[in-house]
Amino acid sequence: MLHNLSPHLLTNVSTPLQYLSANGDVVIEGNSVKELPEFARDKELMVQAYRWMSLTRAFDQKAVALQRTGIIGTYPSSLGQEAISVACGMALERDDVFVPYYRDHGGYLVRGHSMEHLFLYWGGDERGSAYKPNEGSGFDMPICVPIATQASHAVGIASALKIQQKKQAVLCTLGDGASSKGDFLEALNLAGSWQLPVVFVINNNQWAISVPRHIQSGAPTLAQKGSAAGIPSIQVDGNDFIAMYEVLNEALERARKRKGPMLVEAISYRLSDHTTADDASRYRPQEEVDEAWSKEPSKRFQHYIHQQGFWDEKAEVCWQDDCQTQLVKAVAAYQSFEAEQPEAMFDHLYENWPTCMDDQVIACGEKYLRNHSG
């Protein structure tokens, strides 16, 4: 049970909800070890969570390597924020709707989006977003490049679900930078006014490219932005999978039960450059990054499952191998996609084709011939 669900209490929470300390030990509260949620004793679930987190990390490493060799384009690593996105993916039910942002590789993977389609997307191919997720509702949203605009879509989808009297919830993620944009603030306000079944998760990784958290807002917490819209809001240690998973489960369950929206501010840190096109050493000190490494989610969680006896060295080696195998296969699958025909740019613009554009399709074909003959 989430203890502090009144909006009033939630925004006055002075420390983010946390179960695992930085090294992976369960935190001490008062004189004793803090009581864990029940699911934290579920070996299968915990192992699954760890696998998704480390697969996400392996995927990130591979993607960065592919970018360096020109096989895909600019890529935003999620290094150090895997717990947030994986918890999102795992807390969602099949029919819920995921409205992620571009750093949510983990969530996409958990939702059943294939790695080759993710590579396709980052390789500059629209078909990367054409793939129907294995277990998704069928309308998980594609990556949304204009920051924070997905928040409006999330409230729209949530409103549709409510009108259609469906029982699903919507989960929308965004960054700390995105929390300054009017789209998000207006969407929060609408979610509060219309009491929509939507959960917002801010991945507060402390940076928006080179802009630090303190320039984004004078507010002590970003969670407060939810309270100002009449939405229960909570700060959570985003590097603690157990805390994230607990809160997201509750928040989504509330939403599914039509008890209204929630906002979760997940405190984390962007260990990588913003994207492969960025050089973070220009604007932030290495010490800050080093310090953040000591709190990263994956090692912490690995320690926990080791301690619980859910995992060991051997399992780790096997799984890392497995990840690499999956990745090699996915890269091969990605590379086997031939580029679309030039005329594909017209194929999905309109369902009902305006015949006045026939000329342009012909011109496109001629252009191809002109530029590719000889």
């Binding site: 129907k132 729209g156 409103s159 549709a160 259609q164 305006p354 006045c356």
Partner: protein, 341 residues
């Protein structure tokens, strides 16, 4: 809930343009329960122009939704609703307040189908009253349809009579892609015409040839059609004017039905385009450019645009000096008739 409503179905109505909008909305909501409305003051108040009058009462607050005052979210929410299987019809109270919606319309509504290679679609309609001549405050008179016409993936549709408002709005709602539906508010209550509430949509992407003629092709849309009709009927009916003018209502201002325009200009050899919007990069520019590229050898005289000036619409005390009159159109037609290469 108006329980008598069903009896009126398929009846003829003698109504004005804004009532035709209302009738089409009502019809669409009756026929398809995925149609929902959202916007400012569209509920109990029925819209500041009464376009949604009575609809919340009839269909309930879950299908006719007053929003907070937030245009960005009105558009963005409509995108989300459309993706999720509804057919949202969003109202922007005046076109002058549409700019906050553009990011969502340009980046998302226009692209969702293409971005996902058809996996997700965005069948929304965004309605807004537009144009000047009603003595309104600043920002209540804009005609910036060309902004939308420049963005691939959007359809821009403008009715110019009650019947076309009814039929084109139904077409916009049926259309599986986003439509910007701009309503000439100067015509909202200008005239009553007969409209049959038969649920039949008119075709999109098609001009309407309102008058046939052989000497000059006059192209316009929206409120200016009123003055054009009067001028054309004047010329065509006066035997000794010696002039026969073809009047084309563009109706879908993007994508443009150039086939109809080409056929007309090949016949008449002369073209005048009338629009209230600013001249530079307006829809008139696209039509004239198309003529310059493809039809000049059929032309007996230069093309002429009669448009708003490239200036801010004056506040209402002086807006008359901006608005296009019948005399302006008449004079333009005479100039083109008198000129040749």
């Amino acid at each position: 809930m108006n329980t008598n409503y069903d009896h009126q179905l398929e009846e003829k109505h003698n109504i004005c343009l804004v009532e035709a909008v209302n009738l089409a909305l009502r019809r669409a909501m009756l026929d398809d329960e995925s149609v929902v409305l959202l916007g400012e003051d569209i509920g109990v108040n029925g819209g500041v122009f009464r376009a949604t009058d009575g609809l919340q009462e009839q269909f309930g607050i879950s299908r006719v939704m007053d929003t907070p005052l937030a245009e960005t979210t009105i558009a963005g929410t409509a995108v989300g609703m459309a993706v999720a299987g509804l057919k949202p019809i969003a109202e922007i109270q005046f076109m002058g307040f549409i700019y906050a919606t553009l990011e969502h319309l340009f980046c998302h509504a226009a692209r969702m189908r293409n971005r996902t290679r058809g996996r997700l679609t965005c069948p929304l309609v965004l309605r807004a009253p537009f144009g000047g001549g009603i003595h309104a405050p600043e920002h209540h008179s804009e005609s910036t349809e060309a902004l939308f016409a420049h963005i691939p993936g959007l359809r821009v549709v403008i009715p110019s009579s009650p019947a076309r408002a009814y039929g084109l709005l139904l077409a916009a709602i049926n259309n599986p892609d986003p439509v910007i539906f701009l309503e000439p508010k100067r015509l909202y209550r200008a005239e009553k015409h007969e409209v049959v509430d038969d649920g039949k949509a008119l075709p999109l992407d098609t001009c309407f040839t309102l008058r046939e003629g052989t000497d000059l092709t006059l192209i316009s849309w929206g409120a200016c059609i009123k003055e054009c009709l009067s001028v054309v009927d004047g010329f065509n009916s006066i035997a000794d004017s010696g002039l026969s003018i073809e009047l084309i209502d563009l109706a879908t201002v993007n994508p443009i039905d150039f086939a109809t325009i080409e056929a007309s200009i090949k016949k008449t050899g002369r073209c005048v385009i009338v629009h209230e919007a600013a001249k530079t990069c307006g829809i008139g520019a696209e039509i004239a450019a198309h003529i310059a590229e493809h039809l000049m050898s059929y032309c007996k005289a230069p093309v002429k645009r009669i448009t708003g000036f490239d200036t801010v619409m004056p506040y209402f005390r002086n807006e008359q000096h901006y608005m296009i009159t019948e005399l302006d159109i008449e004079a333009g037609i005479k100039t083109v008739m008198a000129s040749s290469f």
